[in-house]
Symmetry: C2
Subunit: 218 residues, 2 copies
């Protein structure tokens, strides 16, 4: 899933030479909506959220990006300001790859370009599906989907709780609803025995039923 696998050895070496490794603390902004980037950020460790502020002042999380994923490539390819903000959800280690490197590889390395292209088409498919979900499905279904997604992509900690500990309001921003309703819906899931919570931590107890809910069968 990492387009950088397609880079030739020399390119990789040349990138490693020049790359800066930056560290971000939990909560730090990697970049903000509307900034002009002069490179991309490749996540070496930690998890970040990509979000966009709506007119009404609320954030919508569009994507969660983790190790190996690249932030900001879109803005770079279309040479526009960033459409999204990137924020660290954990302490992160990120390496910065200057614009010129990416441009060179896009021009000279067809394998790389095709890998990026494939990534984009995958993201586009996901985005289309998300549009349908947001437009057509109630919060209960979207929350079930989000919880399963969090387990699928970020796994569990050593006590079987979801590894990624999002704040309630971050989960609400993923689902696209108000924090209060998110909490109430989590409460409903708990009452139904689908999840358990301890503080902000969440454990999935009945993935079958959650899947059924996600698909609108309950």
């Amino acid at each position: 899933m990492n387009s950088f696998k397609a880079l030739r050895k020399e390119e990789l070496k040349s990138m490693s030479d020049r790359k800066e490794t930056k560290k971000f603390k939990k909560g730090d902004a990697i970049f903000r909506e509307g900034e002009r980037l002069n490179g991309v950020y490749c996540v070496r460790d930690g998890i970040s959220k990509l979000s966009k502020l709506s007119d009404n002042g609320k954030d919508q999380i569009v994507k969660l990006a983790t190790k190996g994923e690249v932030l900001g490539q879109r803005s770079l390819i279309s040479s526009e300001c960033t459409n999204l903000s990137a924020t660290a959800l954990e302490d992160m280690e990120v390496c910065f790859i200057p614009k010129s490197h990416i441009e060179d590889s896009l021009r000279d390395n067809a394998l790389f370009t095709n890998a990026v292209l494939k990534l984009m088409t995958d993201e586009l498919r996901i985005a289309d599906n998300t549009i349908v979900n947001m437009a057509q499905k109630p919060v209960r279904q979207r929350l079930a989907a989000a919880l399963l997604y969090l387990e699928e992509n970020f796994g569990l900690d050593n006590e079987d709780y979801l590894y990624l500990k999002l704040s309630r309001s971050d989960i609400a921003d993923v689902v696209g609803t108000a924090t209060e309703l998110l909490i109430r819906t989590l409460g409903a899931f708990k009452k139904e025995g689908l999840i358990a919570t301890q503080g902000k931590r969440i454990k999935l107890l009945d993935k079958k039923k959650l899947t059924a809910i996600k698909e609108g069968l309950q």
Copy 2:
């Protein structure tokens, strides 16, 4: 906006030689969600909708594609079944370009690949914005946005009505709501003097106010 501009003359010629021109009548399916395509469709004339069926049985229109736009390239690049259905909204003329041609050009013509890549990033930005709108904005705002979009992209007929005459339920599928609410919201706009209607035809009367509504200022 057309990635085919980046094709070399020989490629274009070779494509023209082999291309089949297909005609579709209003309402015809060009392809359906889940089909496997062995080529892409380039719209020569007419307008089509790209839509996806949600679990709950309702359609969501994700994109409207018109002259010069290409349908099905995503499925082809990621070699998957189509994620969306394409349906003719008017009588259409479409030319089919077989898979092998696209693959050849993606392999050999970096200019073409980069053009497609740029297209994808643009669509991805639009998709992200749509996600935020669907998740965060009420129907009234989304409808105002949709009407302005229809004027912007498809223009007016000779009586200043929106050129593209969508059925109420198609507009509802663009906005992501039920037909009844769509009609009521149109009614509200009419009462406020923002639009006029004659049968299914719609005329925008006050684009400033519509823009304000779209942005959540009213």
